[in-house]
Symmetry: D2
Subunit: 366 residues, 4 copies
Amino acid sequence: MTKIPVGILGATGMVGQHYLRLLKDHPWFEVRYVAASPRSAGKKYREAVSGRWHVAGEPGAHVWLLQVEDAGDVSKASAALGRGDCSFVFSALEMGKDETRALEEAYASAGIPVISNASAHRWTDDVPVLIGEVNPDHAGIIPLQQKRRGWDRGFIAVKPNCSIQSYMTPLHALALAGFQAERAVVATMQAVSGAGYPGVPGIDMIDNVIPYIGGEEEKSELEPLKIFGTIEDGVFKNARKPRISAHCSRVPVTDGHLACVSLEFGVKKPSLEEVKEIWASFRGLPQELGLPSAPEKPIIVHEENDRPQPRRDRDAEGGMAAAVGRLRPCNVFDIRFTALSHNTVRGAAGGGILNAELLKYKGYLS
Amino acid sequence: MTKIPVGILGATGMVGQHYLRLLKDHPWFEVRYVAASPRSAGKKYREAVSGRWHVAGEPGAHVWLLQVEDAGDVSKASAALGRGDCSFVFSALEMGKDETRALEEAYASAGIPVISNASAHRWTDDVPVLIGEVNPDHAGIIPLQQKRRGWDRGFIAVKPNCSIQSYMTPLHALALAGFQAERAVVATMQAVSGAGYPGVPGIDMIDNVIPYIGGEEEKSELEPLKIFGTIEDGVFKNARKPRISAHCSRVPVTDGHLACVSLEFGVKKPSLEEVKEIWASFRGLPQELGLPSAPEKPIIVHEENDRPQPRRDRDAEGGMAAAVGRLRPCNVFDIRFTALSHNTVRGAAGGGILNAELLKYKGYLS
Amino acid sequence: MTKIPVGILGATGMVGQHYLRLLKDHPWFEVRYVAASPRSAGKKYREAVSGRWHVAGEPGAHVWLLQVEDAGDVSKASAALGRGDCSFVFSALEMGKDETRALEEAYASAGIPVISNASAHRWTDDVPVLIGEVNPDHAGIIPLQQKRRGWDRGFIAVKPNCSIQSYMTPLHALALAGFQAERAVVATMQAVSGAGYPGVPGIDMIDNVIPYIGGEEEKSELEPLKIFGTIEDGVFKNARKPRISAHCSRVPVTDGHLACVSLEFGVKKPSLEEVKEIWASFRGLPQELGLPSAPEKPIIVHEENDRPQPRRDRDAEGGMAAAVGRLRPCNVFDIRFTALSHNTVRGAAGGGILNAELLKYKGYLS
Amino acid sequence: MTKIPVGILGATGMVGQHYLRLLKDHPWFEVRYVAASPRSAGKKYREAVSGRWHVAGEPGAHVWLLQVEDAGDVSKASAALGRGDCSFVFSALEMGKDETRALEEAYASAGIPVISNASAHRWTDDVPVLIGEVNPDHAGIIPLQQKRRGWDRGFIAVKPNCSIQSYMTPLHALALAGFQAERAVVATMQAVSGAGYPGVPGIDMIDNVIPYIGGEEEKSELEPLKIFGTIEDGVFKNARKPRISAHCSRVPVTDGHLACVSLEFGVKKPSLEEVKEIWASFRGLPQELGLPSAPEKPIIVHEENDRPQPRRDRDAEGGMAAAVGRLRPCNVFDIRFTALSHNTVRGAAGGGILNAELLKYKGYLS
């Protein structure tokens, strides 16, 4: 099988580097186009990231030699599309919100699908916020999006904020089994890689916790409602449940967002054994399809009382699973537990790649 | 004024060291008796802690030269009492629960009041769990305790677990103002000093969080009910509110327990401005009396959106205040906020000293 | 090819766990025997490490089900040898020195070769301290060791302390090229995993460095002299150069020992370019033989001025290479540089496995 | 006594904040003038540092209300001098080197003495680099500097780089006693506060060490030669000894630079006991004069084998002393030891204040 040529927007940033690392040897996709800020444009990729390649692992050897293009110049990507080097792009742009929104639309309008990590389009009413195991059917809005906007080949699909990744699949699995969470109080302990590079100052992360991450609590409370929502009249309509209260803090951890979750169900409440069984046996569409980046077990259930822990558990299933543990009755709501997700893999580049695999399977990418 | 001679049980441990540091130059108390395990007994204090004095600061110069006694041998303390060297003891014993309970009773029975940090007697129904600003009236059980047990001079008074110290005074101040919290969901990020020395393994606290602290969640949920309770028929009767759910995690911080709190009130709900005003203006009995270790402001209200932080804020008011910040509406309950308390000062030795000052004022110590 | 069945002594400890992780899917060796302290004996391996499996990755699935034997009972291993389940053992024993020495000799005497990580036999005059790339010829003492001690099949071979691993191959490569280092001043910054588990207390590794590791400086100064030494009259005779001064400190890093090295050569001094070229092109016997665990490049030369760094560079070549960087003239000696080695891979289990591969190639293991 | 009114240039930065904290309640000096970048100019100081007051402690209450002036506008300071609000300035400017040099000269030229932390003038041949205990006589160049430059009241005096502070006084004490160090190899482990704020990225300081600090090794090797030098013909002439080789690394520590030092003496070599005695008994001019910020013991000698440690020992003597420990024979040179200095107190603001106290005593400030 010939691999689909893909591009990376924001290829020199931290998320861009993770994309390149994870796409090395990918069975379906091959990176043949890299774009970044004008400062990097014109350089070979190796030179552009010299002294600031921050992630473990490497891109494919040929990527070092690709010439970096200006991500702001869509005509370069159009030309690449024309010559068969860029069938769609992963967007890891780190610009302002309005600029990102306009630029992603320009790529889509030019016939280049955009699979994005950026937050700019998460609240655009015809753009799906996809988690493969939770709402793969939301991809069904893409033809409506294309029609409404007059785009033929291009479209935009995004992924949610990394802070919610650890508990969305667990909540969805329970709802599927008939146990809809009504309310949740969540306190997250988030890794510094979520802030990019240089990100959080070093002195703030020694013998310290920062109990605040700008905008993160709002995203954590609202994005789940769109993801659990429905398509009505060609646009998304939010779900009304669960009502979430999020406390988001930054802790001295490199990778892996941890969440302490208290959950209240409606009239129908599962036993702890039922919850455990539902989580351990849950399989979503990515698992059924055997997508290349899908974790075999999307939810890993820990029985030890001190797990999951970021450093010990974030890399399970290649960093693509949610790990849950400490399931116990809640003294205020019904159940409580701790959940962990690798924020720069499943919560960023890995999540984007799984979305692309799903969209490829559904026929939106070729 | 002649200072009251006091003893420290567990004087070589970490909490014992903090007692010695904080009692240096205390206006009312002077350490003249130190006791620890048989291993240390017979040595000069300086020798006993050689290579394991872990805290910043120093004890009074004379303490280095005190001979360490066996804490298990009450007759040594009785003799010290007799010769005017040990009017009462601070207990920072680190033995098993049953052993601690029996030993503290033996001291009290021998006429030596015990002001304890240990958890052994927190659920003894005639032993007060004191927070000076919250339930100073609970000291009123002491004569009943003495009578019931046939003790003349001795008694036992304890302090609560360090994990609740940051939000108890804020909750109490609100209740006093007519805003009784009905339910609370709390997630703590606790410092490693709370586990003593050697405590948490180093490799567990690099690039990691441990989402579990044995017994801590139960203590955090139950102890507030005794503290907010009442004395009936000579014993404590628990309050029924607030119902608390606690998630307790260990984070790479040396000192300072942080708590993310979501609070639900009954019918009467305060505005955010009222909460802020109630906290900022709250003064308890230790403040009215001007006790030597009382923080001037028992609750410090932060307006910046990223405070309180453990390293930057734990030492305010000498480590004796609770710092609160990030007060905002809760998306599930009524309000939410972040609270911080210095676990080895207010949450341990400093809290014990303030209790002793209160009991001295009330005439129970002399 | 049928795999050689091997045993692990100290299989439940941290180094033992790394052995199991690294031997999963090994092309030559298969773990069929695990032994540990009497406390673990009799349990299935999974049960024995429940709640204390600390390393990333997993052993082969069949290992979970192996019954743990008492490492102190050599007859168990003899029986396993007899039934074809334990052809030789990797020793990761964590007992006292004398006890370890005697026990390793008992295994060897029972016909079971011992490839050891323990320090007990490093100064035994007929036991080789092997680094595959540096002194593979030292294996030649094994027949002499066997003859002298009356052992037929068994023998003992050990590896050096993890603190010297990062600079031994670089020093050897230079000496081979004619540039013998005469004197070296070394300051190491060592990871906490080197202290085992629980190891260094957590509070010592937050906002702190411990400028002392018991016994480490002596090992760092003396072991190189044996490794660079020669076999004379059936025993090892130390080299006299280089004279090393080591300062060893513990820093808040999980894995990866870093060393700052200043080097003085004799009359013949290399240019910086020569050094770089010698290191980059160096290949030892493990590389020539293509041993399964041999790094392709035993010395990785970094050009960036802020590398190697523990977290970013320790895993290169599967954690088996030495990384060097910051090569520059020394203001006191001739050259200086920074070197890094993964202490729990190359410096412990991985180094032991490479030694076994070498000894298998040389015909000492079957 | 009326206090001398002083100004702080760069008052909003981290070093500026330390100056303000340390000058609160200073017996001789009172801050009455604060200047910073144009961005802060015109604001009240409290407003200018809102959300970025990083240090523990507070400035004097009146400082919050001072209006911040533009540090680039010397006329503002001249006016303050005129009205008796700024007799001299502490410079904690964080501009480029050339700009700082010119600006400090403009202040001096305007009659305002500059006591500087900046590195800009360290190599100006008539500017003294002062360490009170080491080269107080270098202040004698000030009249020559004033005459040469045509300044009447103004002058410039600076302090050295923070990385050398821990071992300069120990080296000087030995030289005074007749034991001149000829060569030294030094490896430092430096705190992140040395890089200012935001400084080192957080992700670089979790589970990591950065073995490089730009320009730091050169400063560490050269500045001691000027400090140990002499005044000849109105300018400084460098000493020729000791020859130093420095390896400088950044470690996850907030405050406190640690140095591992190997030292070679000339023909006359001290015993370890002599070294210890020389250090423990050393007193410099600041001690003899009893200057307000002078540590009672400028060198604190530790006997425990694992001290000094940054977190436990940096605050001794108010952060103004050098702590030394692990004194032992060197396997390559003569002796070796570990030294510690608080980089933001003695190594920055505290060192500047002590210099000002010395210069006031000598009559250069009024």
